[in-house]
Amino acid sequence: MKVLMLDQAKCTGCRACEYACSFEHTGKFNPLDSRIKVNEFWEDLTFVPSVCLQCERAYCEEVCPTSALTKNPETGVVELNKEKCIGCKQCIVACPWGSIKLDHTGKEVIKCDNCGGDPACIKVCYPGALSYEEVEDITNVKVQETATRLKEIAKDLVKGGA
């Protein structure tokens, strides 16, 4: 299974992902209609992208009174069925991350759907802050990164011991 991964350290704050996402879903450019959001902390010049994490135990799904939200067991994506959605916004309240939101009209609930398996945001993120990869690969990358850091410490430790 593939998942959307974020790497804050690489994000340059360009917001291309927001525009690509908005266009993919509406054919227009409007950051308010983007399912991915880049948060800026100008005082530190730091940028943090955030997007739906497709929770295993999705509160949005649990709270939805019409079952408009359901987790697809095959893709892992929490899918929103627009037809069933009554716009009560309970999912927005329930989401601990602010990942489900209203579009710019304030009338429609929107959420990341991984673009059906071909995320638009990834294609414009040149620094590689966003990636869409097999779970096993992601896990490996993170483990490797940690191990590399530990290796340096380990080398120093040996020196200290000698």
Binding site: T12, C14, F23, K28, N30, L45, P127
Partner: protein, 604 residues
């Protein structure tokens, strides 16, 4: 009918009468001049007398986006500030990246025209089409980045801002306008034009879509453009890796890096202030303007010394040079600190560094009374450079006030205007015209005063195939690049895209966005038209052929050391040819035939 790209609305704010109104964009102008620099200049030409004092109530300041702002076009976050320039009285247009431009579009406007003068300090808050003029009494005097935070605190945390720092408030003629607290419209003294209106800032937030005329074709064009850029050696790789400062070693390596107020053009210690060293010692992260795949912006920190902990954007290549080699300084921490300081106070880093260098020469040569400077102002001292920058930023004492007016006024004050490394009173940037011949022509003919982004001949002469020392063919290269960048500046994207993109790709993006039929040829014609109306503005303002020149040093003193040793610049060889190619007479006045061919119906 505006089909896309443009929002079709212009916001007019009169600070004298406090009147605010929305106006439809003039579609004929949009077709002929696009947005940004082109439209803004056409409007200014229509609405002000080019002879007015740039700091008077009669001058106007226009914040303009182009049709590509607020779309996914690469590097499309530019905002142009167009006004009669406080530094030299010529047509001024200074642009910055960041996110203000797209936000303005989302708020429903292509541009803001600020007129008149407020009696008290104010800022403008544009929120989803609603406009308020609010008191800025409590923000006046604050640094540009502090003001950004304060204004967002009083409006909306996600608002995008334009602010000026204390330099603009105190009408420094080299002051800048800052976007998002750290992105500078640095040149021509636009900060003072804003300050003269008692305008501290503008905050914008909107919720509207931006749309393009032909979405499918547009997306095809922009994905193509983004792909080309990501593969380009400079834009896609070098600049992303090392920022624009990657050029330090490149330009110094060809002996074109002005040092010690251009007494020489080779800096043996260049490596200490190079992009490579910057990356190793000070870089925290890269930063990109709106939709930018290049992300040449640097976020840097000073890790030791008196300015330890100073965090900010930049420095760009030009600033590394102006505070570094131009002042003979190889202490990168001092250079970075000076850059951060200038951004906070809202002062142009190119002009500032070059002004300090000029002061150093005046001091060392004994052309100014030593007691005028409160400390030893020697080339090579990072400490002295920083102290001088601080004096100018704060405008402390007579000397600080003088420094804040730029090198020309400083050198003139001491009776040696020839020591100002400027053209039309604006300091030239980090490419020595004696070693890159076309750059000299570019500086001399630039409508806003010496500048490297009204063409960027270096791209062809050093990074490309042309011979940097040759005169032949340079007039044609510079003219073409000037026209290209004029049109590009009017479309809303960044000059750096031209490292990879040609007029073909640019025209494709603009035409699919706007629905206007613009091919590469028409795109270049738009650029030429803009260049000509800028020239008309300057002629009306009183500029003549004799203003199209360079400092005597560049024309007569050979470079002393390095790969370009022995070279001087001979403008005469290129200038006549240039006027001829432009279809101007020998006095640099566009001929009637030329204006007719360009469909410019304006009185000369």
């Amino acid at each position: 009918m505006i089909k896309g790209g443009f929002k079709g609305n212009l916001l007019r704010v009169n600070l004298t009468t406090k009147e605010v109104k929305s106006e439809a964009l003039n579609e004929e102008w949009a077709q002929k001049y696009l947005g940004g620099r082109g439209y803004g200049t056409r409007l200014l030409l229509e609405e002000i007398d080019p002879k007015v004092d740039p700091l008077s109530e009669e001058n106007k300041v226009i914040f303009a986006t182009g049709p590509l702002d607020g779309t996914l076009a690469p590097s499309s976050g530019r905002t142009m500030v167009i006004t009669k320039g406080p530094l030299n009285g010529a047509i001024a247009c200074s642009n910055a990246g960041g996110h203000f431009g797209p936000a303005l579009k989302h708020a429903g406007y292509d541009m803001i025209v600020v007129e008149g003068k407020s009696a008290e300090p104010v800022y403008i808050w544009i929120n989803k089409g609603k406009v308020e003029i609010r008191s800025a009494k409590e923000i006046w005097g604050k640094l540009a980045d502090e003001s950004d935070e304060l204004i967002r605190g009083q409006t909306h945390p996600l608002a995008e801002t334009m602010t000026i720092g204390p330099a603009g408030e105190k009408l420094s003629r080299i002051s800048s306008v800052m976007f998002n607290g750290h992105r500078a419209s640095g040149r021509t003294g636009v900060g003072a034009a804003v300050g003269s209106k008692n305008l501290k800032g503008i905050a914008v937030r909107g919720n509207e879509d931006t749309t393009v005329a032909d979405p499918e074709a547009f997306m095809k064009a922009i994905y193509k453009a983004r792909d080309i850029l990501s593969k380009d050696a400079f834009a896609g790789q070098g600049a992303a890796m090392l920022g624009t400062a990657m050029l330090v070693n490149v330009i110094n390596g060809v002996g074109a890096f002005p040092t010690h107020n251009a007494q020489d053009a080779y800096f043996p210690e260049a490596n200490k202030i190079s992009g490579e060293t910057l990356r190793e010692k000070n870089l925290i992260r890269n930063e990109g303007c709106a939709e930018c795949p290049i992300a040449c912006g640097r976020v840097t920190v000073v890790k030791s010394g008196p300015y330890k902990g100073s965090i900010g954007g930049g420095p760009e290549y030009e600033s590394v040079w102006s505070f570094g080699a131009m002042c003979g300084v190889s202490d990168l921490d001092a250079v970075i600190s000076a850059n951060h300081l200038c951004d906070k106070y809202g002062i142009d880093t190119i002009s500032m560094g070059s002004t300090v260098a000029c002061a150093m020469e005046l001091y060392e040569k004994g052309y100014m009374p030593k007691e005028d400077a409160p400390f030893e102002l020697r080339f090579g001292s990072g400490e002295a450079m920083l102290k001088a920058v601080e004096l100018a930023c704060k405008q402390e004492g007579d000397f600080g006030k003088l420094l804040a007016q730029g090198s020309y006024r400083l050198a003139e004050h001491y009776g040696h205007p020839e020591l100002s490394m400027s053209a039309k009173k604006q300091e030239f940037p980090a490419y020595d015209p004696r070693a890159i011949k076309g750059m000299g022509l570019e500086y001399a003919t630039s409508n806003r005063g010496a500048c490297h982004v009204r063409g960027y001949g270096t791209a062809v002469e050093v990074l490309g195939d042309a011979d940097q020392y040759a005169y032949e063919g340079k007039a044609a290269i510079i003219k073409t690049l000037q026209d290209l960048t004029a049109a590009l500046d009017s479309s809303g994207i960044c000059l750096f895209t031209t490292f990879g993109l040609s007029a073909n790709e640019l025209a494709e993006m603009v035409s699919t966005a706007t629905g206007f039929s613009i091919d590469a040829q028409e795109f270049m014609k738009i650029g030429e038209r803009i260049w000509n109306i800028e020239k008309l503005f300057n002629l009306k303002a009183g500029f003549t052929r004799k203003d199209d020149t360079l400092p005597p040093r560049i024309l007569s003193e050979p470079i002393k050391t390095g790969p370009s040793k022995g070279h001087v610049e001979d403008l005469g060889k290129m200038l006549d040819e240039y006027y001829q190619l432009r279809g101007w007479n020998k006095d640099s006045v566009p001929t009637d035939e030329k204006l007719k061919a360009l469909e410019v119906q304006i009185l000369k």
